[in-house]
Symmetry: D2
Subunit: 294 residues, 4 copies
């Protein structure tokens, strides 16, 4: 499995709904056992994640980590309400601090606004608030090796950044080198014209990739055009992390499940799911690399 | 264009955000001029639709019509609150009456619950309320030629009926012959494993089809696998209506736009859009019919 | 149908196996009636094509034309045998003269070797002979507006030019400005990694496009990825001709049918076939142009 | 890798151009080392294959085998010339005897006519000769567990059996239970409307599957729709062998290379090629099985 430079990751919610020491251990162990290089840790509630314990377990299993989360309506930095924006910025910095203490290489997600269904478009003032908050977050991370990522999500989870083209413009406005684009095939399937073009639009700004199926279940059982994603990644020479994400109501905790509208169980055996995804990603990456050489 | 039996329709929101006489006339005229057989009329607010005027205009242009709408939280027949269920059932019957007076062949949409993002799964009691409401609606339509349709929408627009398999089960529970499945490619792209399989699952229950792109813009500019949809329709010998649906914030009224999370303009020239869609559907249907004969 | 600059053509073999005045008239009339701008005339046997008559009919119907043919083993300019090379070069110039007298804008095909199944790879000397012959043909056409095209065909119809990458190299060796690449989706489906990439590889050298299905029947009834072809054409801003090609043993004369391995009837109603293809190409082109603007 | 019942094989020509003891050992060893259950042995020239040696090596490596070959013009059982038909039938029986002595479970290929480009369609008498020859071959194998397979190839390699529909008809004419259909994605990409439909047409007659890319190189680097093939196999519950086939002029012996029109090297590292294919098939099969359960 050395035909490419990318680290292959798996989302923590494949393994457990929380991050107690027992959950963290079984998650990291599961990720390791099914062939992954890194695990993505959810920081929805940063004070509930013990950075020291996490770091210790990662070292024990020789695994790497990244971190992700989304803001809520109460912590929406794209709001016009100063209280929400302040609360959001505080959360961004708190979560960043935990991620840094864990030793991650990347912190991303819907950090630029609330993760959820809006009932109106973002306002110009709200967008300015968001840009300013991200500038300060990027500045806080400036000395480190940690990249800050904008996860592009579909219209039901953000009213602001749904496409790579929008993200490139937003990054120009923020103007910080450590801010990168995070593409996710589940969302791209709804918002982008095609995966290949979206990857090329993101181009050098691409810093993180989520591989998820159109219904969030087993890779290759839905409508996502993975071939065009991986051809795009090969075309731009992307060497960053590629992380598998899948949600089932079997594992995910109810509140997040409802936010993400996970009403169905699409799997129950997470070991089989993760093993399959690891092989699937490997086959796709190898095909794309070989094809590039034709 | 006589290679198939299907009537080809276009959604009213391609033409106007409302249904005043002027809007109705220009919508029907636009649909006629761009080659459609029928127009789908939005009955979100049935008392705002003048059935006599509509019928007269349809006659004048020799056009057919169907009708659609979705319930809201206040009229949610899948709720556990009797007040909402009663209000929903009243709306279902009011809208049906207007549709009947217009002379439509079909009334459908999210009639089984609220159109929107839920924050919890449907309860067993809520589902029972929904089934009972649909039974009475079907009974009201029983003597007529009008079919009642369940439009399957994605997880962000319903917590109950997202897939053809779920709809077949729901129809079994309702147990009425005039209740049909309404598939929509925009939603299928998110929820179904593939379009061909979904059409076969719907099978003889399929009564209405919405053709929409993955981002709700021009057909053929996104990720929907139209070939597999049309091959499925040919495989089951579907002869019912096929209606083009596309939304742009240019036309659609703000409140519905926000419910549907339409944050971007994907087109501004609706004549070009509709003409293109008409040709696209024609080419796809003809290919599927010819392929069937191979 | 003015959303794009390309002229849309149809191959003469859709209409008739020969080119007598009656056949020429019905072919040109059929192409015109089904909405095409130009007809591609087969010059397998140039002395059998009456240029004056053809020109007159084209004028009468206000139609444009292109011309195509392939060499045979006896006229193989990629052979090592001087007699065959001389015979081939004579045929190239004879056919060119007829095409010029007809008033075509383009002459192409398998002009660089024999159209057929080889039993050994091309030799270095054979390839040199081919390059030299094409240089002289391009020189003969130099003063005119006529472009000379290399049709890329699959491995069973040429042992030399199967892919766009090979054609770019060959064009570099010939070194003449009026030599262009002619891509054909039927062959690309066998030889290229994907249609989009092949179009980009051809790039500014692309001068002619054949749109044909994987089994040579109705467009959209086989395996060709037309979306990726048309997206590629939009990406490079291709404004040249796009010609529909389809063969059925109902029309094509036996000897060519056997060379092309047409053992099955894939259609019998050529008017329906041509009308469908015209609409199919229109829908695809419009989708690609609109998508480009997203 | 126990999520499915199918044995996964690899074609001998991935490993060596011949079958000397050294070649046989390195081929079987390579197949074993890269994770395959069986190797397909070429019987173009049955007397050159030492059955005892082969059986011994298969036992030593605990590997299974299948056998394949194609007739030539001189041994064409679909010819009208009695001498060729007799020579062909002799070859069929000789090859069968070697395969039986090796202990294979399957013997297939272009056994019903010559493998190559024909210059005329098959005649009714030729087809009758072919059917009669296959009846006798099937009768010879009747007592054994060996299945006889009709490999469907493209129009340039057979003028008789290009599609599953044609094969079903041919099998009806032969009327023997041990005659099965052998589908190959490389050929299906040219001849079938789509892979899913072709698999369903073959149905219970399907006995062997070749997985090859559209240009015969690395899986996933061309145009074959593998998803639709594997969905079809899951739909019919196919549990037979699935064998990877790929040709490069690096390995294949010249004469066969020229017959098969292999003019390009698409790979040189056969270990990497085979490993990748093994993972690719595994990921596809698992996706199809999981999808079936949705």
């Amino acid at each position: 499995m050395s035909a490419y430079a990318n680290k292959i990751g798996v989302h923590g919610l494949v393994w457990a709904g929380g991050w107690s020491e027992a959950e963290a251990r079984s998650s990291i162990e599961g990720a390791k056992a099914t062939g992954y290089d890194l695990i993505e840790i959810l920081l929805m509630d940063p004070q509930k994640v013990d950075a020291q314990m996490t770091r210790r377990l990662l070292d024990e299993y020789e695994m790497q980590a990244t971190a992700s989360f989304g803001l809520s309506a109460q912590t929406d930095v794209s709001s016009e309400e100063p209280g929400r924006v302040r609360a959001g910025e505080r959360l961004l910095h708190d979560a960043y601090a935990v991620a840094r203490d864990i030793g991650v290489s990347y912190v991303g997600g819907v950090l630029y606004g609330a993760l959820g269904k809006y009932s109106a478009p973002v306002s110009a003032r709200g967008r300015d608030n968001s840009v300013a908050a991200l500038q300060r977050l990027c500045d806080a991370a400036a000395g480190s090796d940690i990249q800050i990522g904008l996860e592009l999500v579909n219209r039901y989870e953000s009213n602001m950044l749904n496409t790579a083209a929008q993200a490139v413009e937003y990054i120009d406005d923020v103007g910080r080198d450590n801010l990168v684009i995070h593409l996710d095939t589940y969302h791209m399937n709804i918002e982008e014209s095609d995966n290949y073009a979206a990857v090329l639009t993101a181009g050098e700004h691409l810093g993180y990739v989520h591989v998820g199926e159109s219904h969030r279940g087993y890779l290759g059982t839905g409508n996502v055009d993975f071939g065009s994603l991986f051809r795009g990644l090969a075309a731009i020479g992307y060497t960053g992390p590629i992380t598998f994400e899948s949600f089932s109501s079997r594992i995910i905790m109810p509140e997040l499940s409802y936010t993400l509208a996970i009403w169905r169980d699409l799997w129950d055996d997470n070991v089989d799911l993760a093993e399959h995804a690891r092989g699937f990603i490997d086959a796709q990456l190898r095909s794309a690399v070989r094809r590039r050489a034709l």
